[in-house]
């Protein structure tokens, strides 16, 4: 972009969103990996988003949509980033009819703000992605961003019932609708949810809500070995119990979460009617006894706060590398241990959180130094884990890493035989590759 060109584009952006809502150049806080966008814009309406995209499309400028910026570094390095499009000003709850258990929000609406508004009606969106306190609902949908509650409530993908999307050329489309059950036409919600801003800009999201549980408690099993904890997890999974979340945590994670208990742990969160919570806690207490495991019970606020902390763990431990493994659930502990072996010597503060019910394993840690030998050890470890788990349908995604690592590995790993379909979809929705180019699988 020439200087005059940039001036002209700035003028046009200002004419769309007003002077106060364009930043040039992007301040340091808006860097994505090591890339600095030329502009940050803060549209206030979906019409403004559409106008920005029309401009970008005509000028072939790369647009990167963002919510709170929490997950901006999730993805491969961007090829280009001219305009960072923030939904920060689009925070309204557009429709909320408690009797329908559904709601529509603007993409920048914060998860916390929404749940605060829904609480008086005893309803909520049961999402707990990392840094949930900052998350926007558009960002959660775009990244299909989940946390431990996935075990009991599914992924955000399963709660999105409709979307309004601004396409690359600025035309607006709607997917799904406002009702909880809908097979009218192709389900384009599925295409956009989890597409990380590479197919369109989500401007509105419709969700189905859940009743807010009457009571909550968390049971903690502690031990020095995995064996009995794993067996505890298995017995819970094969019982009548209905935990909303079930997580195995290593010592490093536990010492940050509950400094009094720096041991290996199994955490089970129960969200139910009060008598059902009491029943379940009693059941797992008996289970802990039968396995001779140390047992701790956290109620209400204490329970809530440990899960909130767990969502900020990577921050508490200043993580700069975070991997997500997805394996068959029965292999969760195996994946956990493999991750520990592969990275335990290289990373400091190696913390691992695993969901034995869904097979999701998060491994995080700090690079002691960013020198060549360390980087190549990390890269080797990622490759090693990928090869090892490919044989069991497992996947290893790099959720967060310094640019130097992203230059050496595709953060998503292999896609497989469906890559040509994905390429064709990207081409069908963003032929000029202006939406977060390079970020997605295989650098789409």
């Amino acid at each position: 972009m020439t200087l005059q060109g940039a001036d002209r584009i700035e003028q046009e952006l200002v004419s769309i969103v007003g002077e106060a809502n364009v930043l040039r150049p992007a301040p340091e806080a808006y860097a994505i990996d090591d890339r600095h966008p030329s502009f940050v814009v803060f549209p206030g309406t979906s019409e403004e988003v559409a106008a920005i995209l029309r401009l970008a499309h005509a000028q072939e400028l790369a647009v990167v949509p963002m919510g709170s910026g929490r997950r901006l570094s999730f993805g491969n390095l961007l090829e280009r980033a001219d305009i960072l499009l923030s939904t920060r000003r689009m925070t309204r709850i557009l429709e909320y009819e408690p009797a329908d258990l559904t709601a529509s929000v603007e993409a920048g609406c914060a998860l916390e703000a929404f749940n605060r508004a829904a609480l008086p009606h005893r309803q909520w969106l049961p999402f707990d992605p990392p840094d949930a306190n900052r998350a926007t609902l558009g960002g959660i949908a775009a990244a299909d961003d989940f946390g431990p509650l996935r075990h009991g409530y599914g992924r955000p993908r399963d709660s999105v019932i409709g979307l309004e999307v601004v396409q690359a050329d600025g035309t607006r489309i709607r997917a799904g609708g406002r009702v909880v059950k809908n097979v009218t036409g192709y389900d384009l919600n599925k295409l956009f949810v989890g597409s990380f801003g590479t197919l369109g800009v989500l401007v509105r999201v419709h969700f189905k809500l859940r009743p807010y549980p009457e009571a909550e408690a968390t049971s903690l099993f502690l031990d020095s070995e995995w064996e009995r904890l794993e067996s505890g997890a298995r017995q819970i999974l094969q019982s009548e119990l209905l935990p909303a979340a079930l997580v195995l945590a290593n010592e490093e994670a536990m010492s940050a979460l509950l400094p009094d208990y720096p041991r290996k742990a199994l955490l089970a969160r129960f969200l139910e009617m009060a008598p059902a919570v009491v029943y379940q806690v009693e059941r797992v207490k008996a289970l802990a006894r039968s396995l001779s495991l140390e047992f701790v019970e956290l109620r209400d606020e204490a329970s809530r706060s440990i899960w909130e902390k767990l969502g900020r763990l990577h921050r508490l431990l200043s993580t700069d590398l975070r991997l997500r493994l997805s394996v068959l659930p029965a292999r969760t502990v195996e994946a956990f241990c493999a991750g520990e072996r592969a990275l335990g010597e290289t990373l400091a503060r190696l913390h691992i959180l695993a969901q034995p019910g869904t097979g999701i394993v998060h491994i995080g840690g700090k690079l002691p130094i960013e020198d060549e030998p360390t980087l190549s050890l990390v890269v080797q470890a990622i490759r090693h884990l990928r090869t090892m788990w490919a044989a069991h349908r497992g996947r290893v995604i790099v959720e967060h890493a310094p640019p130097e690592i992203k230059r050496r590995v595709d953060v998503w790993g292999e896609v497989g035989a469906s890559l040509p379909l994905m390429r064709a979809l990207k081409h069908a929705f963003d032929p000029k590759r202006i939406l977060s180019p390079g970020r997605f699988v295989a650098g789409l």
């Binding site: 399963d158 659930p329 097979g359």
Partner: protein, 464 residues
């Protein structure tokens, strides 16, 4: 004889390629008899390899084709509207793997829905999506339609229970969508495929999630003297933050048909409507929720609420509900069923209006539906030989759709657009929305050979 027929015979054997016009008549429609069109041929593959072979031949000759499961679809989805070939998948009916440790099962597409639940019941599991047709419909057909069922209120639709698919694309290439038990990376092609009504390719293998049987189940039957009260009770239950596993409504016309059939369940024939409500989960919460529901029904005018005493009584009530469509089918030559969905809070205002529309057109209508989801099923009894009645059926259907869309609803909750509802698509979607869908379809099927004439309105005119 077309040369491709000989090629198909080479793949599956001469006797497994039907071309005799008389026998093809059995394939001229699905569960919705209003749309009829015989295929040019029907083939019976027995393996994924045969499906690939067949599709490659048809692709090469540019012959349109489509898969068919049990033919119980209710939108004309399995009708070969442009002629072409039906691949009937009933013989691919093997359960390939059951893996309790990972709570999944791998099946061929021709496996009947209920057979899977039966196969895992003794181990304490079930397959959650339970269309009322589950004794007949196939899992392949369920995937194609994103089928629902009474218990989808709590457990979600087919898409929430499918973990992986092997698909033969319209050009004969094979792809795997989803991770078959793990998360795949990239766009959610699995979610996109489920509900694509057989227009993106042919499913040859499905991995589904198995669900643990709940500790406790309680089934209630509440009867009411007016449809308005019944609707209000439904809205009150949802608004109270209770999520029953099923919340079904049956009106008087339905009750009468059921009670006069082999599915007779002892329903009160003098009620205006009944609600069949099921709660499941932990005994401790089910008890508590049941009390609240009884109370909510009573305050909204229920004459009586009974709790099924035992498994036999429960089974009888459900047989009545699941047999309702069949029972209605017996009382008139043809049956049209619509599938619109409305926001649940609008039920008390919309349902009476639906009855008024039917009355205005002089049609006999019975409603039996997934009330908790707001998923209506107005069933219209008619005689397809009476062209004036057919016209009235169509006009009434359009008015019902328009009404549902006006209150924020949509055309179909589980049966699909198929052939039947194409004309209404512009009621909910703009040209740009439809164009985006068409782009997706072209990615999977650039030549438009796979189940053509379904889902999306085509620009070029065509006489139906």
């Amino acid at each position: 004889m077309a040369s491709w027929i000989a090629e198909l015979q080479e793949i599956v054997g001469r006797e497994d390629v039907l071309t005799d016009p008389e026998r093809l008549l059995a394939y001229e429609c699905d569960g919705l008899s209003i749309h009829k069109h015989p295929p040019a041929a029907v083939v019976f593959p027995e393996s994924a390899e045969e499906v690939v072979g067949i599709v490659k031949v048809l692709w090469r000759h540019r012959v349109p084709f489509l898969a068919r499961g049990a033919g119980t679809g209710l939108s004309g989805g399995a009708v070969a509207v442009e002629g072409g070939v039906i691949l009937e998948l009933a013989r691919m009916n093997h359960i390939l793997e059951i893996d309790y440790a990972n709570r999944l099962a791998v099946v061929e597409p021709g496996v009947i829905n209920l057979m899977l639940t039966r196969a895992v019941a003794d181990a304490g599991y079930f397959y959650a999506p339970d269309p009322s047709s589950q004794m007949a419909c196939t899992l392949g057909g369920n995937v194609a339609e994103n089928a629902g069922g009474p218990h989808c209120l709590k457990y979600g639709m087919t898409v929430h229970h499918v973990l992986g698919l092997d698909v033969v694309l319209p050009n004969g290439e094979v792809v795997t969508l989803g991770g078959h038990g793990t998360d795949a990376v990239g766009y959610d092609l699995l979610g996109l495929f489920v509900g694509s009504e057989g227009t993106f390719g042919i499913v040859t293998k499905i991995t589904v999630r198995l669900t643990r049987q709940p500790q406790a189940v309680k089934t209630l039957l509440a009867d009411f003297l007016s449809v308005e009260d019944t609707s209000r009770a439904v809205s009150a239950i949802i608004a109270a933050g209770i999520l029953p596993s099923a919340l079904e409504m049956m009106d008087r016309a339905t009750i009468e048909a059921v009670e006069a059939s082999v599915y007779a369940a002892g329903l009160p024939t003098d009620a205006a409507a009944v609600l069949l409500i099921e709660l499941d989960g932990l005994a401790a919460s089910v008890e508590h929720e049941a009390e609240r529901i009884v109370e909510l029904c009573r305050t909204n005018g229920a004459r009586q609420v009974i709790v099924a005493r035992d498994e036999a009584e429960r089974a009888r009530l459900w047989a009545g509900r699941k047999g309702a469509f069949g029972a209605l089918g017996r009382i008139s030559p043809d049956l049209m069923v619509q599938d619109a969905v409305i926001p649940r809070s609008t039920l008390p205002e919309v349902l009476p209006e639906v009855y008024r529309i039917a009355a205005r057109y002089g049609l006999r209508m019975a409603n039996v539906f997934h009330a908790g989801d707001g998923n209506l099923h107005p069933n219209i009894c008619f005689d397809g030989r009476d062209s004036d009645e057919v016209r009235r059926v169509k006009e009434a259907c359009r008015e019902i759709m328009e009404l549902c869309v006006r209150v924020g609803g949509t055309l179909t909750g589980e049966h699909g657009i198929g052939l039947d509802k194409i004309a209404y698509m512009p009621l909910v979607f703009t040209d740009d929305d439809l164009e985006a869908m068409a782009r997706v379809r072209a990615v999977f099927d650039p030549e438009g050979l796979c189940n053509p004439g379904k889902v999306l309105p085509v620009r070029r005119c065509r006489a139906f």
